[in-house]
Symmetry: C2
Subunit: 64 residues, 2 copies
C-alpha cells in the first residue's frame, strides 16, 4: 500500500498528525486528510512537500 504519514513541520521539528494517509483534498483555508480506514481530519495547513517514495507528507500550519 502506498499511503503516507503526514507531518507538520516547523523549523527542525516534525509532528506526526495522521498516519496512513490515502487522500488529501484542499478545502477552503486548509486540507482534508483521509486515512486508509476512512478517518478524516481537517487541518488549517498547506502542503510544504510531498515525498512519496519516503511515504512522507510535510505540511505547514497556517495561523488563525
Amino acid at each position: 500500500m502506498c499511503e503516507a504519514n503526514a507531518y507538520i513541520r516547523s523549523g527542525q521539528q516534525e509532528e506526526l498528525i495522521l498516519e496512513n494517509v490515502d487522500r488529501i483534498i484542499p478545502v477552503g483555508d486548509g486540507l482534508l486528510l483521509e486515512d486508509i480506514f476512512g478517518h478524516r481530519k481537517h487541518i488549517k495547513a498547506r502542503i510544504q512537500e510531498l515525498s512519496l517514495v519516503d511515504h512522507k507528507i510535510y505540511l505547514e500550519k497556517l495561523e488563525d
Copy 2:
C-alpha cells in the same frame, strides 16, 4: 515503489503530465514535480486531489 502519476484535470478530461512522481514542492505560483529518475517539471498548477493508494495526483492548471 510508491510514486504516482500526475494528471491535469479539467472537467471530465484527465491529461497525464508526468509519470513516476516522487516529490512535489510548491514553488512561487506553481508546483515543482520530480520523478523517481530526478527529472523535474515546473507547472503552473495547484493540487486538486491526491489519491495515494491509487497512485494518482490530480492538478488544476492555473491561468497565466
